[in-house]
């Protein structure tokens, strides 16, 4: 019994089919609790007023926008090394979710930025690197869409994803070059260990972050299942034509 067993589409479909309802409800629960708690049951910030509440959408979606690309990178590597079909399909299925998360992060950031920074957009390192990430997602999806043959497309997009990751990281540090920018540092203690946010805001934020993580997993499973079914449909159609 190992993880690789689920590289078999049949086993993957069985397991994900059983998990889907549970995951969906869990996701709905976490997102609803996180967002409702965040929006309606937290006090306003003493300087930012109620605009601070956009953080419950902004931070989780930004988190998932980056992690989706990371997941695509891992899936691409697995496809190139072990050639598991589910892996390639999962990478393809993840890209639109990642684009949506990137757009949500950019849009909520702009909406918050107008009253707080006085501008929707600034060429700040974090903002710029998210825009570049968005462009990478677009290129990745366009390449998938342009190639007919599934295996070729999976190979090419995997290489693009790996090379793109290197250049995305490079761009991230290249834009640092201009200045430190407007965007504040992290409020979430991952690397620094000290937290600038009070528990009142932090607990719903963590719940919302978990919720968005679950949302990503749910959407990913759902979309991968769709992709597998599409492949089966194509195989059936091919057989029909040959018969």
């Amino acid at each position: 019994m190992s993880l690789w067993e689920y590289a078999n589409p049949k086993k993957f479909m069985d397991l994900s089919g059983r998990l889907m309802p549970w995951l969906s409800w869990l996701t709905a629960g976490f997102v609803a609790v996180g967002l409702i708690w965040g929006f309606f049951f937290t006090p306003d910030d003493y300087r930012q007023g109620s605009t601070v509440k956009i953080i419950y959408l902004h931070v989780p979606s930004a988190l998932m926008a980056i992690n989706t690309w990371l997941m695509m990178l891992v899936a691409s590597l697995i496809w190139l090394v072990r050639r598991h079909n589910v892996s390639a399909l999962a990478a393809r299925a993840a890209a639109p979710v990642g684009v949506a998360m990137t757009l949500i992060a950019l849009a909520t950031g702009a909406i918050w930025g107008k009253p707080m920074w006085g501008t929707y957009w600034a060429w700040d390192p974090r903002l710029t690197s998210f825009l570049i990430l968005f462009l990478f997602y677009l290129g990745y999806m366009a390449l998938w869409a342009a190639i007919e043959d599934r295996d070729t497309a999976a190979d090419l997009t995997s290489v693009l994803c790996i090379v793109g990751s290197v250049f995305a990281v490079l761009s991230r540090y290249a834009v640092n070059f201009w200045n430190q920018g407007l965007h504040q540092g992290t409020s979430v203690p991952v690397a620094t260990g000290n937290r600038s946010v009070d528990d009142v805001f932090f607990i719903p934020l963590v719940i919302a972050m978990v919720g968005f993580g679950l949302l990503f997993v749910t959407l990913l499973l759902l979309r991968t299942r769709t992709e597998i079914r599409l492949e089966r449909l194509k195989a059936l159609e091919r057989r029909e034509r040959l018969a």
């Binding site: 342009a146 090379v163 250049f167």
Partner: protein, 218 residues
């Protein structure tokens, strides 16, 4: 590999519409920008290095499909793939040929175009230097993009969508180097980083491009 390099350079120079076209495009872009923003000397000298860098980047981009597409269409790419030189070396030779026929002329032309932009004295040295160091990276990254899209019927637009995000770091450091050089500020950091990008591209990307070419030719 040398024979392939010489063949590609010869093809680029003799076949119409390759060699001079990128240069002409670069010239046109450089001339059009002052028309668009107006003839204000200060403004032009401020944006000059950046605009010329974008122009050089676009000129590179437009000539990328020449790297593999023609050879793919007439079948010589398949022949080259069965030849004893590995695909990685082929990519290296072709990217070098592309740089020699596109990047290098752009470098030579850039001080002339800097005149149009009312450039500061430092720009006449540092703009060509930044292009000289940066355009090899543009050619190599472009060769990777061209290898990705070689089998596609209408790959042109897709190619730009794939390649332009990859050009971002090179553009940032290149334009920064040219700008700092023009203003007489310290140039060491962007100079080293830009050199690093070019060298790393030539060291690593042939493998990715070779892999992709083999996938596209199977």
């Amino acid at each position: 590999m040398k024979a392939l390099l010489i063949r590609d350079i010869r093809l680029a120079m003799r076949a119409g519409g390759g060699f001079g076209l990128a240069l002409g495009f670069f010239l046109i872009v450089a001339v059009l920008v002052p028309f668009a923003v107006g003839p204000h000397g200060d403004l032009l000298s401020a944006i000059g290095p950046g605009v010329l860098w974008v122009g050089a980047m676009l000129a590179c981009l437009l000539s990328l499909d020449r790297i593999f597409q023609l050879d793919f269409e007439d079948g010589s790419l398949a022949l080259l793939a069965t030849s004893p030189i590995p695909a990685e070396a082929m990519v290296m030779a072709k990217a070098t040929a592309h740089w020699l026929t596109t990047g290098l002329p752009l470098v030579a032309l850039s001080p002339v175009l800097a005149v149009f932009f009312n450039a500061a004295p430092g720009a006449y040295l540092w703009l060509p230097v930044s292009l000289l160091i940066g355009t090899p990276a543009l050619s190599m990254i472009g060769a990777f993009g061209a290898a990705l899209t070689v089998g596609l019927k209408r790959g042109g637009l897709l190619l730009s969508l794939l390649v332009l995000p990859l050009y971002v770091p090179t553009l940032i450091f290149g334009a920064e180097l040219a700008r700092r050089g023009a203003e007489g500020a310290a140039v060491q950091t962007p100079l080293l980083l830009l050199t690093g990008i070019s060298l790393a591209s030539f060291a690593a990307l042939p493998f990715a491009a070779g892999l992709v070419l083999r996938v596209n030719l199977r």
